[in-house]
């Protein structure tokens, strides 16, 4: 069975995400910040892929305001 869950992004994929989201949010990325921003998107994609490889149930509800 094909694994359809997200994989960590390559640098090129992270750059494409940066460009698209930068336009969507009207947040220009100055030249001195581009390489660091791409590197941090790649790092976040690694963490996100690890999180999203965990199977969640429909009943696992997000808790944006969290009551410990």
């Amino acid at each position: 069975m094909t694994d359809t869950r997200p994989k960590p992004l390559t640098e090129a994929e992270a750059e494409a995400l940066m460009e698209a989201a930068s336009r969507a949010l009207a947040l220009p990325i100055p030249e001195p910040c581009r390489a660091g921003t791409i590197a941090n998107i790649v790092a976040a994609s690694n963490a996100a892929a690890f999180v999203m490889s965990f199977p969640l149930d429909d009943a696992d509800e997000a808790a944006p305001v969290f009551r410990a």
Binding site: L17, M18, A21, S22, L25, A26, L27, P28, I29, P30, P32, C33, G36, T37, I38, A39, N40, I41, A43, A44, S45, N46, A47, A48, F50, V51, M52, F54, L56, D57, D60, E61, A62, A63, P64, V65, F66, R67, A68
Partner: protein, 467 residues
């Protein structure tokens, strides 16, 4: 004992001396101001010293004592706050250059108002990592706060000035904030006690947020009774913090002498027993041995919890700063700038998956706390690195230092568990190491009872400063 000598002890001893009229609050404030003037140039802990305010507050305490009124449980105790807490009349900079342009705060943060009401004397604001996105205590605008046990080393962050000021004996109590470990890391590196209460316990109103899902406030101090006294003074409902839970304000100071042998205590295995530098696990084992603890438990999916905390933090932080990033991005500290930019651009699907996993993880950890009351774990994977270091060794691989300092703290703040960080055995190179004493939500008193027992046994103590 002189006011100057009292500064080497804890706040409770100062309050007792003031109440008994052995010293005046003014003499203590003056001694603290003199000590800050002498020692702060080496530590860079303070960014603002509020001398006039401190002397005025001390005079009010002395007047209360002279009139026979109760001056409060923290009478005359000098304290300072991370510079993201609003102090009336000062711009709240939160470690940033941009924040220096803010209008002066109109009033104090709730935590400051409550500590002042308990008789404590605010003496200044403390250095921190920019906008709290930091584990090192470094700051491009203000310079690094330095470790009092070796000024060439990091204080830890982001409440670096808080760790440096308390560990360096400039003040007995400081306030910090903890989103992923920002109280516990500087407490561990600087050899102090630190309390991160349950998420939603203490009001954050008037403290600048970073990642609202995880932001906590709490004290650093040199004794467990000072942690408890500060906690108790700051308790109580505050309609200005939407994350504060509707829980009874139960003080913990009178519980510190309780017998810890009635508690079920275990050592955290798995994630919390791996990837540590020499001495780190030994410090945990020494605290366990002092308590007669041999049981081990595993907190499930802790590594994934840390990853989810990273995703939520960077996205919430990035979004909080979006407007500032549009307008003034090149004025950020280069150490935080690109992380905030990246976080602001990430997909909502990543964020929501992490929040949903958080609910799953919380439920599993709550189940674990049906079997145990308190869990012991290391605070950091290594003692304070040298200022400027960029990498560390983890499982034989060289990895970036900054994010990995929070290896053991992030999976706990991720679900808001109360944690007392106690100073344990020293590392092989003679540096402080912290041990996390972790309890179930709303059971701060259990972590504090164990911490107090370790303190009485001499296992948890703030190490002496180098001569």
């Amino acid at each position: 004992m002189s006011a100057e000598a009292l500064l080497d002890g804890d706040g409770a001893a100062i309050a007792a001396a003031v109440r008994a009229r052995h010293v005046t609050a003014r003499s203590v404030a003056e001694a603290a101001l003199a000590r800050i003037a002498a020692r702060n140039p080496a530590l860079n802990a303070f960014t603002d010293v509020t001398a006039a305010r401190a002397l005025k507050a001390a005079a009010a305490v002395d007047a209360a004592v002279a009139a026979g009124r109760d001056p409060g449980p923290l009478a005359g105790v000098p304290y300072a706050v991370k510079n993201l807490f609003d102090i009336a009349g000062l711009a709240t900079r939160a470690g940033s250059r941009i924040g220096r342009d803010n209008a002066p705060a109109a009033r104090d943060a709730t935590a400051i108002r409550r500590l002042d009401a308990a008789g404590a004397v605010l003496i200044g604001a403390l250095n921190m990592g920019e906008y709290a996105y930091d584990f090192t205590g470094e700051n491009a605008h203000d310079g690094p706060s330095r470790n009092p046990h070796d000024p060439s080393r990091m204080s830890g962050g982001s409440s670096g000035g808080s760790g440096s000021a308390v560990g360096g004996r400039l003040v007995p109590i400081a306030l910090g904030t903890d989103t992923n470990g920002s109280i516990r890391v500087p407490a561990a590196f600087c050899g102090t006690f630190g309390l991160k209460p349950t998420y939603g316990r203490l009001s954050r109103a008037g403290a600048m947020l970073f990642a609202a899902s995880f932001d906590h406030i709490g004290p650093l101090a040199r004794s467990v009774r000072d942690l408890a006294a500060a906690h108790d003074a700051m308790l109580g409902p505050d309609g200005e913090d939407p994350a504060q839970a509707d829980r009874p304000a139960v003080p913990v100071s009178d519980r510190l002498g309780d017998d810890p042998s009635t508690l079920r205590i275990a050592i955290a295995g798995g994630h919390f027993a791996e990837n540590a530098a020499s001495g780190v696990i030994e410090a945990v084992e020494a605290t366990a041995a002092a308590l007669g603890v041999t049981r081990r438990v595993e907190i499930p999916e802790a590594a994934r919890a840390r990853a989810a905390a990273f995703v939520i933090t960077t996205i919430e932080g990035g979004n909080l700063h979006l407007e500032r990033l549009r307008a003034r991005v090149m004025e950020y500290d280069p150490a935080t700038r690109d992380r905030f930019l990246a976080g602001s651009l990430l997909p909502a699907g990543w964020y929501l998956a992490a929040q949903r996993f958080r609910a799953w993880y919380r439920a599993r950890v709550i189940e674990l706390f049906q079997e145990v009351d308190v869990i012991l774990a290391p605070a950091t994977p290594l003692p304070a690195p040298r200022i400027g270091e960029q990498t560390m060794m983890l499982s034989g691989a060289t990895v970036p230092l900054r994010p990995n300092i929070g290896l053991y703290t992030q999976p706990l703040s991720f679900i808001g568990l109360p944690v007392v960080c106690v100073p344990g055995a020293l590392s092989p190179e003679g540096l402080p190491l912290g041990v996390q004493v972790i309890a179930a939500p709303w059971q701060e008193e259990k972590a504090l009872i164990v911490a107090a027992a370790l303190e009485r046994a001499g296992v948890a103590r703030c190490p002496d400063l180098p001569a």
